[in-house]
């Protein structure tokens, strides 16, 4: 086990920007994002695939980036929390989390935002039950979840209004 393992190339489009780096095969996607690309918005919580703080979208689907090797994502598109806002303008989900107090310490928030993003990109009118199921893989130790559910509901309304206004 002592011999060095040769790093291999990984190409990822992260928040629209293409990156290519060499990394060890055992590098997890979350470490690749945080250490090699310096995108530290994606958090490492439990490290055991429970808490969902490291959730990012890989090719439009939410994954726990601590449970995916960077090599598995090679050639893929990633969305992290850094890719949600447009310049200084927060994403409606971020606004709603702020307005509804959907966070306290904020550690779980990047993951919850990405899980909520996946939900709302597929279902613009989720029921309470669907909201709960969608974030079952994201633990929050502060809020008791109620304000998170409210925030997601508020964001779905905002996003529907925006879509309507754009039509």
């Amino acid at each position: 086990m002592a011999e060095a393992i040769e790093p291999l190339p990984v190409r990822l489009k992260v928040n629209g920007e293409l990156h290519e780096r060499r990394t060890e095969p055992r590098t997890l996607l979350v470490d690749f994002l945080r250490d090699q690309l310096r995108l530290t918005g994606t958090h490492i919580g439990c490290e055991t695939s429970y808490c969902g703080a490291c959730t990012v979208l890989l090719n439009g689907k939410s994954v726990k980036s601590c449970t995916v090797f960077a090599m598995q994502a090679d050639g893929g598109e990633i969305l992290t929390v850094e890719g949600l806002a447009e310049g200084a303008e927060l994403h409606p989900l971020q606004e709603a989390f702020s307005e509804e107090h959907g966070l306290q310490c904020g550690f779980c928030t990047p993951g919850l935002l990405l899980s909520s993003y996946q939900l709302l990109s597929r279902n613009d009118r989720p029921t309470d039950r669907q909201i709960r199921k969608a974030v079952a893989g994201n633990l929050c130790r502060c809020t008791g979840y109620q304000n998170i559910f409210k925030a997601i509901r508020q964001a779905s309304e905002k996003m529907r209004d925006e879509t309507k206004a754009a039509e």
């Binding site: 393992i5 055992r26 449970t67 598995q72």
Partner: protein, 297 residues
């Protein structure tokens, strides 16, 4: 947390993956979704020297129908099954797929990987044991078909050779008058079930002409419970028969006491799950549309 270092091999076909496994020997593992393997590697409970990645082989994510058979490719994720209109024709598949862990895990984890890992607490094996399920495996350039009941041998042990790779899982859609349901009891979304039960019934003129009752998480591997099935087959599935089937399952299961509960608790749970799953299967056999969700404690 970092796994031990390993050498990474990207297979371009299943035959190549099989040849790589043969060449690299016992210290090589396949990587599909990785939702069981990667957590084990991070805790260093597993430390393969080689990983053979299947994720870049084209054409393995097909979920298709051929006559009354559903064909599931080795990279079909739980979430693909959860949202597939084709899979919906066998509702018990959706019960299972939609309840595995959480959204993120379902987006990566695969059905074939779950069968190949053969975790005693896996969700798919008990469900698929109640259906006519066959597994096709590739070895180098040859192929064989295995009945699922012959695939599951023991805890974490299948009858697959070390260099055999699952290339497809085939599930036959049960005929008219059939219904099935799967219920798992979980403490929360992310954990394995404390106990689970899948039941499939075929009813003709009020009499049960075929019954399958399988249990998961309460023995070294998921298995069918013949004594419970015998209480249902050839009879009207009334409350008394269902009660007897549930009691038979309570007797036949082999749970271990652990942090999820005592042996007595798990036996009670098994009886309850078999009873509820049988009632749901019966309603579905009559054509009722029933939403089934896992029970979270």
């Amino acid at each position: 947390m970092h796994p031990y270092p390993f050498l990474y091999h990207r297979a371009s076909s299943l035959s190549e993956a099989s040849r790589l496994l043969a060449e690299l020997g016992a210290d090589a593992r396949l990587l599909a979704g990785g939702q069981s393997l990667i957590p084990l590697m991070k805790l260093r409970l597993a430390s393969p020297a080689h990983l053979v990645d299947l994720n870049f082989i084209p054409g393995l994510s097909t979920l298709a129908e051929d006559g009354d058979q559903l064909q599931i490719g080795p990279l079909v994720r739980h979430a693909d099954i959860e949202s597939s209109p084709v899979a919906r024709r066998i509702p018990v598949l959706v019960d299972c797929a939609a309840g595995i862990a959480d959204v993120q895990v379902r987006n990566m984890g695969t059905l074939a990987g779950s069968l190949a890992e053969a975790d005693p607490s896996g969700d798919w094996a008990p469900v698929l044991l109640t259906l006519d399920t066959r597994v096709t495996a590739v070895k180098d350039s040859s192929e064989r078909s295995i009945d699922l009941a012959d695939l599951v041998v023991d805890a974490y042990t299948t009858s697959l050779a070390p260099d055999e790779v699952i290339s497809e899982v085939q599930i036959r859609q049960p005929g008219p008058g059939s219904g099935g349901a799967y219920l798992a009891y979980k403490r929360c979304a992310q954990v394995y079930a404390t106990a689970s039960s899948a039941v499939a019934l075929t009813m003709r003129e009020g009499i049960c002409t075929g019954a399958a009752v399988a249990l998961g998480s309460v023995g070294l591997h998921p298995r069918r419970i013949a004594s419970a099935e015998a209480e249902l087959e050839g009879r009207a599935v009334d409350a008394a028969a269902i009660r007897r089937a549930a009691e038979a399952a309570r007797e036949a299961c082999d749970p271990q006491a652990d942090m999820r509960g005592s042996v007595d608790f798990k036996r009670n749970l098994v009886a309850h799950l078999v009873e509820e799953a049988t009632l749901l299967a019966l309603r579905r056999s009559r054509g009722e549309k029933v939403e089934v969700e896992h029970i979270y404690g």
